[in-house]
Symmetry: C2
Subunit: 125 residues, 2 copies
DNA sequence: CCCTCGTATCGATGAACGTCGATAACACCC
DNA sequence: GGGTGTTATCGACGTTCATCGATACGAGGG
């Protein structure tokens, strides 16, 4: 589902002055911002960090509630958002729900981010 | 404006089970999320993309209002947020305000993001 | 000087978000 | 089946955000 991160569509903007085609179009910007929105909360960054640093790169909710200092429903809510963003994946083992970091997900965000930096961006000239 | 969402969260990580020290602490997560919050809007991603792709990696507000299809105050508002996030920098030349992408800013975000990926993260074992 | 042009700020408004307590759903054990 | 433990969902509440129109600020030009 998380297939379209690096989007380089050549829409014609070419407005008034130095119109060079931007690296992302409107749809790509919306899709990219959706991923960033999942990371735009300190708790979710912390959760992602804890899960990644955990043994086997996975952790259950009971391991996460305490470090972030929030209630269990809130932690579940944040985890759901991270799963929907494609950054975490859920696996139910017995009574516990284990959350694991999706291997190439962060790399995808990095690749999309590199589209917005001047070094890797198409030289506007 | 800085309210009281700072939750102390008992700085001892290492909860009950497989507690490995996470890659980012509470302050780091808050700082990282602040940058992502600046990118968590489609308009701002689009603005950053347009500025980066522009000639000389800079653009004035009049160049940006039209492509994003929003009012001029709204565009100025988004640009201010991007400047405060350290992603854009403003320079007033004559009557126009030119916005330019800060060279190493995105790379800093990429470096912080790499801390959260399992490959580069400290192997929790 | 006054007028025009480009940009930033202000105040308001509707939508989205983070958080919680209560509760439902699900899996195990006896 | 009843009881216990773990997680997800629901409803509510306060805060933050994105957006606009109106307006103020600042720089040039006649």
């Amino acid at each position: 589902m998380r297939g379209k991160m690096g989007r380089m569509t050549t829409t014609d903007d070419a407005g008034c002055c130095g119109g060079t085609t931007p690296a992302v179009d409107v749809v790509g910007a919306r899709d990219l911002a959706r991923t960033f929105k999942a990371l735009a909360d300190p708790t979710r960054v912390q959760l992602l960090s804890i899960v990644t640093a955990h043994e086997g790169h996975e952790a259950c909710v009971c391991d996460l509630t305490e470090p972030v200092g929030l209630s269990q429903p809130t932690v579940s809510h944040h985890l759901k958002i991270l799963v929907e963003a494609g950054l975490l994946e859920r696996e139910q083992r017995g009574r516990w729900a284990y959350y694991r970091a999706v291997p190439g997900a962060v790399d995808g965000v990095v690749a999309s981010l590199s589209t917005l930096t001047p070094e890797t961006a198409p030289t506007g000239a």
